[in-house]
């Protein structure tokens, strides 16, 4: 398979994730859509790594996975804190930054 196929698939997955961020309002699902976008980026990186015949892209993908894990941990921590303070879990109702 040509690398182009993987890149177009990656663009499609990224667009689906971006559309999800725009449509959904639960912060939990928005975090899931961020995962979709990060994984689309990973797919492109690994495809480029295969295309150039070097493994650097795979190391990049690994680092992206680390960053994604950190983002999940902090994001879910925020969601649990919001839930405990009885803040509505709806991104349209969370407008103030004051704690």
């Amino acid at each position: 398979m040509d690398t182009t196929w993987y890149l177009v698939l990656s663009a499609l997955l990224f667009a689906v994730g971006a559309g999800g961020v725009l449509v959904r309002r639960s912060p939990l699902v928005i975090l899931l859509c961020l995962e979709l976008m990060l994984n689309a980026g990973n797919l492109a990186l690994v495809a480029f790594s295969r295309s150039t015949g070097t493994e650097d892209g795979q190391v990049f993908a690994l680092v992206v996975m680390v960053v994604a894990a950190c983002e999940v941990v902090v994001g879910l921590g925020l969601i649990v804190a919001m839930f405990r303070r009885r803040v509505p879990l709806d991104v349209d109702q969370i407008r103030g930054l004051r704690g």
């Binding site: 398979m1 040509d2 690398t3 182009t4 196929w5 890149l7 177009v8 698939l9 663009a11 499609l12 990224f14 667009a15 689906v16 994730g17 971006a18 559309g19 999800g20 725009l22 449509v23 959904r24 309002r25 639960s26 939990l28 699902v29 975090l31 899931l32 859509c33 979709l36 994984n39 990973n42 690994v46 495809a47 790594s49 295969r50 295309s51 150039t52 015949g53 493994e55 650097d56 795979q58 190391v59 993908a61 690994l62 680092v63 996975m65 680390v66 960053v67 994604a68 894990a69 950190c70 983002e71 999940v72 941990v73 902090v74 879910l76 921590g77 649990v80 839930f83 879990l89 349209d92």
Partner: protein
């Protein structure tokens, strides 16, 4: 054969992604994301990225998704309200996503890169194996590796500070989400 594997993986990844954003129940969205991640791991295998595929299954589909499932079960399954704060949001958002897809595709296909129209060079055995990735991480990308471990440490401390609770009248309490969930159940 490779094309069949690619289209099977692409179908799974795309179906999982669409299911994540279209299912109403966040719990099902998380399960759909697991399908998506496993299909992507299959695609990584076709691309000779064996270590990345294994890490994807173990770290992502295993550990991270279990965290998601726990938090979803803890927070409860709030259905999203029907009203739209921005008029026409449900129509505009897919249009914008489609425009983004077309834009990225044009940018990718329109590049002058010759290499993306081929399968890539023939690669030697051991490409993408844990050994060669580890060698790269500990030699050329050592600083990146250390920075990543630092970032993980900071994220872990940050999550404890964010989600941990301070209770009055009790001696100090780590307040992890797990112990909190047990308390709610009891």
């Amino acid at each position: 054969m490779e094309a069949v594997a690619f289209f099977a993986g692409a179908l799974g990844a795309l179906g999982g992604a669409v299911a994540v954003i279209s299912l109403r129940n966040p719990f099902y969205s998380v399960l759909a994301l697991i399908v998506h991640l496993i299909s992507l791991a299959g695609l990584f295998l076709i691309l000779h990225a064996e270590f990345i595929a294994a890490a994807q299954i173990v770290v992502y589909a295993g550990a991270v998704m279990v965290l998601y499932l726990f938090v979803t079960a803890y927070v409860g399954q709030a259905e999203e309200p029907i009203w739209e704060p921005i008029p026409g949001q449900r129509l505009l958002a897919p249009l914008l996503a489609a425009a983004l897809f077309i834009e990225i595709s044009v940018a990718v296909i329109g590049t002058g890169l010759k290499a993306i129209d081929s399968q890539g060079p023939t690669i030697e055995a051991g490409f993408g194996s844990p050994g060669s990735i580890g060698e790269l991480l500990l030699e050329r990308f050592l600083v990146v590796f250390e920075a990543a471990s630092m970032l993980l440490l900071i994220a872990a401390v940050g999550a404890i500070v964010l989600a941990g609770q301070k209770r009055k009248g009790k001696p100090d309490d780590s307040g992890t989400p797990a112990s909190e969930a047990e308390e709610v159940a009891a």
